[in-house]
Symmetry: C2
Subunit: 163 residues, 2 copies
DNA sequence: CAAATAGTTTAGCCTTGGCTAACAATCATT
DNA sequence: AATGATTGTTAGCCAAGGCTAAACTATTTG
């Protein structure tokens, strides 16, 4: 959620009655919802790093730990540790004290993440969300949007921009 | 992301060229984006528990740890530990071996979360997303949608349902 | 080319949110 | 009222993702 968010928060009262009468979902479906979110959490940081590394390489020619740290808003030590993890996962290759490269798999992940991110961002803008807010929301939402929803968002963008 | 998600993942190629030429955002804005997501992560589990507790109370009359555990798909020990945290945060009151109550603050959080959740869910359905997928996506997205975007989603729902 | 500066890594700490296993309390049934 | 089943708690483990401080490497510059 945006912290410089002047709009009022929603209240239960601001919702139409009919919205609130949904029964609880059956247990196992409910469980799966939460599990899906937990799983997304495990991968999303990884994806964010890989996506950022890909962006740095394509916009700057290389990805240095210091740049990653300052963009992520995190200490260099944290980045260094994370790079080791990405290495173990086969997503990047790195030699000590040198800049990073994405493996083929890492590149694929970066592209997919970037594409997803862009769809969500452009969708929010097409919906009428202010650019700054859209960027923040997209960063958080991208890992929780199914392919089905992405496809619908893409269609929405196409329709908006056609005119 | 839904795991039973048959649609193809997006590829960089499936995006219009113009989507991909965005430059990197200026560093401090970029940093703030990631910070916002990290902050959301700290609160979202808390909010999920509180929201679920509120739902259990209103649909079942009470919230028992065993129900929370089975709905969350998590062990009872994990729930017990979490309840201690919620207690420390002043969101619930509990006596050992008895069921839970939300404090005034907890109730406020539950209502806000529920309202946000409902807006996102109904928005996705209004967009044309299948109910099952919408539920899963909403669960993940709700904590990352700014009030500005929520307001726009609400407007979208109103327009769709008016006709 | 030596020294200062910048960048990277390592060590060791902390918190969160999972888990299992063992124990404690409550409840339901006879 | 006793007991077995259910429910709740505690202890102790683990991995992830932050941090700081210190050590090490690379680069720039006087």
């Amino acid at each position: 959620m945006s912290d410089n968010d002047k709009a009022l928060p929603p209240t239960a009262k601001s919702l139409k009655k009919s919205y609130c009468n949904d029964a609880l979902p059956p247990i196992e479906e409910h469980t799966r919802q939460y599990e899906t979110v937990r799983n997304a959490h495990e991968t999303e940081l990884i994806e964010d790093y890989v996506e950022l590394i890909g962006d740095l390489i394509s916009h700057r020619g290389e990805a240095r730990a210091a740049d990653i740290a300052s963009r992520m808003g995190v200490s260099q030590a944290t980045v260094s540790k994370m790079i080791r993890r990405l290495n173990e996962l086969g997503l990047v290759t790195s030699k000590p004290y040198r800049s990073l490269f994405l493996t083929a798999e890492g590149q694929k992940m970066a592209e997919t993440s970037r594409a997803r991110h862009d769809i969500v961002l452009h969708f929010l803008r097409a919906l009428g969300v202010n650019d700054h807010t859209a960027r923040i929301d997209a960063e958080g939402m991208e890992h929780h949007v199914s392919n089905e929803t992405l496809a619908i968002m893409q269609r929405f963008i196409d329709e908006q921009t056609k005119r």
